[in-house]
Amino acid sequence: MMECWILNETLSIIVVLSWLGMNLFLFIDTFCWYEEEKSFFYTRVILGSTLAWARASALCLNFNCMLILLPVSRNLISFVRGTSMCCKGPWRRQLDKNLKFHKLVAYGIAVNATIHTVAHLFNLERFHVSQSEDAPALAAALSQLGNAPNESYLNPVRTLHTNTIVGLLTTTAGITGLVISLALILIMTSSTEFIRQYSYELFWCTHHVFIIFFISLAIHGLGRIIRGQTPESVLLHNVTFCRDRYAEWQAVGPCPVPQFSGQEPSAWKWFLGPVFVYACERIIRFWRFQQEVVITKVISHPSAVLELQMKKRDFKMAPGQYVLLQCAAISLLEWHPFTLTSAPQENFFSVHIRAAGDWTEALFKAFGAERHALQVPCSLPRLAVDGPFGASLTDVLHYPVSVCIAAGIGVTPFASLLKSLWYKCCEAPQHLKLSKVYFYWICRDAQAFEWFASLLLSLETQMHEQGNTHFLSYHIFLTGWDENQAIHIALHWDENTDVITGLKQKTFYGRPNWNNEFKEIAYSHPSSSIGVFFCGPKALSKTLQKMCRLYSSADPRGVHFYYNNDSF
């Protein structure tokens, strides 16, 4: 458990450093090869170091283009998550950062593309210059090669008078290079955070330009215009001896005319696999879209919250996961994530949707929630469900004591968890390693989450019936209160149930004093490993991490708090 926890904290850093290290290794290795390789000696005479810069960045581009499609293959990631064996927790959480990795690789592509383009701009200019009269002698001689029959050319620019732009646009590499750069720029300008939040559809549609990107990349090297000496020519033509005797190069003799050839395009070999995987991913998504989702119940909760209970064949979930919902009647392109609020033990899965934006409001209208009208099941709009995705909260069960803290909307994954815990408790309490759960819920006002409060109420009654009141101890903190509320609460303080929530546990007002809370928990469980799970804003996450470190005892046999980073 301890080793997994350390791994969890540092795994992201390890992944990023490995990626960076691989890039640097490929770049430097290729760079040195092109700088020292004999067969490219004559090419280097004309081009200098920019040849190596261009080729090294090209290899890094191949590597990154191979990687970029993998983090966005959701179903592949779910598959890997389901089958990974060792240290499941930290690796699973790493898989949840797939979009961050996708962006990192995209930045890598942008940087390498810039280096590659600038290097080739210099290359083209130098090819051009070595056809002019004031070019150095060896370069001029090399550029003349290819004019006579039985000679292969080195310099793709054949005459001085070829305008570089015309030269670019008449080569495959030139046109595809321009198209690739353009595609990359269009993708990047429509993927800025502002545009993503402003119009997800624009981002998503423009992103499909990647198809043109990959096709152009596959044929980019077809022209084979970056050339080196053929292996046979290297054997016959000794570069160190012959390079100063360029006036004497003939078909036979000590220095035969060097022959050149280009390398075959290799980019496609790198990304053929991932392209195939991504194609399968899109097919799976489409198939999932076709699969039938049966809506068994629609419940309208107060404060504009809609609960949808659904069934789908072969749907398996774990608490804390989310699904993507799509409603064809509203938009064919938008898939929105919602955390699952039902337990795996139930025979349906449910989501609670709050009307907080265009799509959710349209969904409300479509389900007739606004009119409170009775809907006939077949008139309900058709939904498609993809998932479930995300890390599950099952790690909660692996600790003898768990502390779950939810702030605001972060309470939704815990709904699923608490229900699941309840079922587990009923079925087989002796198998449960977990013996105590502390649940903290901090929100501004409980109105939006009345459905959760009623869930807690039903759990409370059930626990009371089972005589198991010590298993779950929950504390609710309302941070947005005013004087009128305070008076009302003070007047009803002596009653058995809380006046706002109706629960036996009284609600607290203001923010929790984490020092006190952690102190008490540490005192009550002096030698346990305690898992801390949080879902909510980052500022509170930092505070809780600090608390965990502060109250973990230095004694290995003492109490230890393990903070599990939220990626639910």
Partner: protein, 187 residues
């Protein structure tokens, strides 16, 4: 996608094009490529485009995220009035600026990107969009009524409701005036 304001994307695209023009221009000028003076032009044109496009315009509905430090440039851009407000003018301006850079290989990418941005601006202009400066919200001052006066009488004090009454009641505070005559039963 019907409700989208194309100008938002055109702005991002034009800003990127400006940066690419500057980069291409620097490469051409520093490397002393043939016809490098087009590169020098490209740096200037790119800088002009960046300065014009850096202040993001306001969305017609909803709040807009400002770019860091844009309000100074926004003030300058606003000065030009209809020249910068109207997207037709911007579309034509970008098209014209991009043409000379198209003669040099190092800057041709910038040209194509700027032409695309010009096209999107044309689309935005056709749909009647306009550049509007983001208004900064006036700082909310604490309302006088929110500040509660401290109690003016020492403890022990009657509860809040009774405490509030004296300030609102003009018939000065004093003993409670009973609406119904009360007599006690003690004789």
């Amino acid at each position: 996608m019907g409700q989208i304001e194309w100008a938002m994307w055109a702005n991002e695209q034009a800003l990127a094009s400006g940066l690419i023009l500057i980069a291409g221009g620097i490469v051409a000028t520093a490397g002393r490529f043939a016809q490098w003076y087009f590169g020098a032009y490209s740096i200037v044109a790119g800088a002009l485009v960046c300065l014009l496009e850096y202040p993001r315009g306001r969305r017609s509905k909803g709040s807009t995220m400002e770019r860091c430090g844009q309000k100074y440039l926004a003030a300058v851009v606003k000065l030009f009035g209809p020249l910068t407000r109207n997207y037709y003018v911007r579309a034509v301006l970008h098209l014209l600026l991009s043409v000379p850079a198209g003669f040099l290989l190092a800057t041709i990418l910038g040209t194509v990107c700027l032409v695309i941005a010009s096209g999107i601006y044309l689309l935005a202009a056709v749909r009647g969009e306009q550049w509007m400066a983001i208004e900064s919200k006036p700082k909310e001052r604490p309302q006088a009524e929110d500040i509660k006066q401290p109690p003016s009488n020492p403890p022990p004090r009657p509860p809040v409701e009774a405490r509030k009454k004296p300030s609102e009641d003009e018939a000065a505070g004093g003993p409670q005036v009973n609406p119904i005559p009360v007599t006690d039963e003690v004789v």
